[in-house]
């Protein structure tokens, strides 16, 4: 998958344009996993929905292209997208667990997904397959016939994982899949997703605002701020030596359980308004290192070392 200069804007009824995603370039190889981290409103969910082709009606891809195995998804017809959904690209939402059909038992819902893409399979075979998937995700055998309301949040999210991997997709997009869950259940599911993903050898885009989860799943990380990617690279490189001031301050703002310091840190100011983002570098009003150039010129992602890119004027080599 390759994304080139993607811009997704929302058009509000009052005539404002919200530039949710504003110039994103990304590349993800087969069997690779990428974390997209950012605060709420930075455009990470819009990006995910844009890739999946499920934008709300008032959002539009105004520029850029999304190539998936050589096909430009932004120009594809709905019918083609339907072929791709779940078979090639599947998605797990934060609210996925509330999107299950309440009047259908869960194994049938999974069987439906299987049958939709494989017309030759019989209903019984599909159900059998669904049960196998449920077992893989650690749902007790007798729960397959249960309806969503009979399952706990963690179990419902397991069903969604089962659905997402049912057709062995090439790419799984997970949009804050575990935020509503407790930390212990979250841990269980992260381990599960990791294991299953590696079994079916699919790529993963994991979107989260929870910086603590970063590094549990992925080998690459992209940090988003105000619709743009400000830092991108191999996980250990970005973690150990964050290059962009935003990344560094964001990481520092998260208290750790083992660290030496219990001091509370934070980034002053508020995230920018996306209707009128600040000129130049979008982080400059909150950045402690701002100079004149930052206020005028928009920085580009530049390579600072092998597999590590950052968009900051201060890093010029």
């Amino acid at each position: 998958m390759k994304i080139e200069d993607l811009r997704i804007h929302y058009f509000t009824s009052s005539g404002d344009i919200i530039k949710a995603v504003d110039g994103v370039d990304l590349e993800i190889q087969q069997n690779e996993s990428l974390d997209i981290v950012g605060e709420s409103g930075c455009g990470k969910s819009t990006l995910a929905h844009g890739i999946f082709g499920m934008l709300p009606s008032n959002a539009k891809i105004v520029k850029g292209r999304i190539f998936f195995k050589g096909i430009d998804l932004t120009k594809s017809r709905k019918s083609l997208l339907r072929e791709i959904w779940f078979k090639e690209i599947s998605i797990i939402f934060q609210e996925s667990m509330n999107m299950l059909n309440p009047v259908m038992n869960v194994e049938k819902q999974i069987a439906d997904v299987i049958m939709l893409h494989n017309r030759k399979i019989s209903k019984n075979e599909a159900l059998h397959e669904a049960r196998k998937l449920l077992e893989l995700t650690g749902i007790p055998k007798d729960k397959g016939k249960d309806y969503p309301h009979q399952l706990s949040g963690g179990q419902k999210q397991r069903v969604c994982i089962a659905m997402a991997i049912a057709l062995k997709p090439t790419l799984i997009i997970a949009d804050e899949p575990f935020t509503a869950l407790d930390i212990i259940v979250q841990n269980q599911l992260i381990e599960l997703l990791n294991k299953l993903r590696q079994e079916i050898k699919s790529s993963l885009i994991f979107i989260t605002h929870d910086i603590n989860v970063v590094g549990e799943l992925c080998e690459k990380i992209a940090v988003m701020y105000a619709g743009q990617i400000v830092e991108y690279g191999k996980l250990d490189k970005v973690l150990n030596l964050p290059a962009h001031p935003y990344t560094k301050m964001l990481f520092d703002a998260v208290p750790t359980i083992n660290g030496d310091t219990t001091e509370l840190k934070y980034i002053p100011g508020e995230p920018p308004n996306m209707i009128n983002p600040p000129p130049g570098c979008r982080f400059h009003p909150r950045c402690p290192y701002t100079n004149l150039e930052c206020k005028k010129k928009e920085p580009q992602l530049v390579k600072i070392e092998e597999e590590h890119y950052s968009a900051c004027h201060l890093q010029k080599v």
Partner: protein
Amino acid sequence: MSFTEGIKRERDFILEVRNLKVWFPVRGLTSIFARSKKYLRAVDGVSFNLHKGEVLSVVGESGAGKTTLGLTIVGVYKPTEGEVFFKGINIHNTDKKTSLLLKRKIQMIFQDPFESLPPHMTVFDIIKEGIDVHKLADSTSEKIKLISTALENVGLTPPEDFFKKYPHQLSGGQRQRVSIASILALKPELIIADEPISMIDASLRGSILSLMMKLKRDFDLTYVFILHDLAIARCISTHIAVMYLGQVVEAGKTNEIIKEPLHPYTKALLSAAPSLRKISRREKISLKGEIPSPIDLPSGCRFSTRCPFAFNNCRKNEPVLIETKQEHYVRCLMYQPMV
């Protein structure tokens, strides 16, 4: 601070919770026909007391009863058993006048600043409401002064800019500041904060917490935080109480709990806390399954169904909270002297 049932009742405890139980009757067909009534035991025998200026963090998974505990302390729920004392006054059993006073002295901050502020009221009206209810100001100019100071204290300056704003015009961080301002205007002494930052962006969490800590010093406040994140509890509190299924399973000074946890559940919570820089990661203790229902509680130790160290005795005998060393309490058979 102590976490076992009060031996002596002292005036200098700002908050004293004694063997508090809050049970909710379960309604439904099965309970109509059942011989004995079923209860959801949200809080089941919690005791602790707080000195002025202490900060207690109550930590646990959802369903542990943390929020019910908080709501009972502010007087929303009546206890099924046990008492809550504020400076020696039983808050659930006083006359109307004292009760109103207590409602001013004990305040609560809620999790979701998007829902806890009334959408049809301006910031000015939201703060004014409390001042009116408690008759803290007579004239309009006095009210304006109180409201301005409250907004200044939470860092919303200049305050006049915010008077006419509605909650939807504010960002999440600003909203939480408004809700803090609205209770600060009432000059409280004890604040229960129920997950005050879980809906706020990571980069701003620190700013809200630092603000609350500054207000604590400036106004001599006492806090009870309800949290699910031990890492945050570590940064702000003097004491931590870990709750599981309505009971305190471990409690003590913050450093003790973080550095030398005793209860398997605390250990699991600590090892589950994902850490960004994995250098000094603890040995991972994974728990199986999810928290059981507080209606059908497991027999014996409530944690025995998920505990990796559980032995037969754990399913038979219910452990009690004992003090293993100075100010460190644990509820686990492993630490209980043999009877």
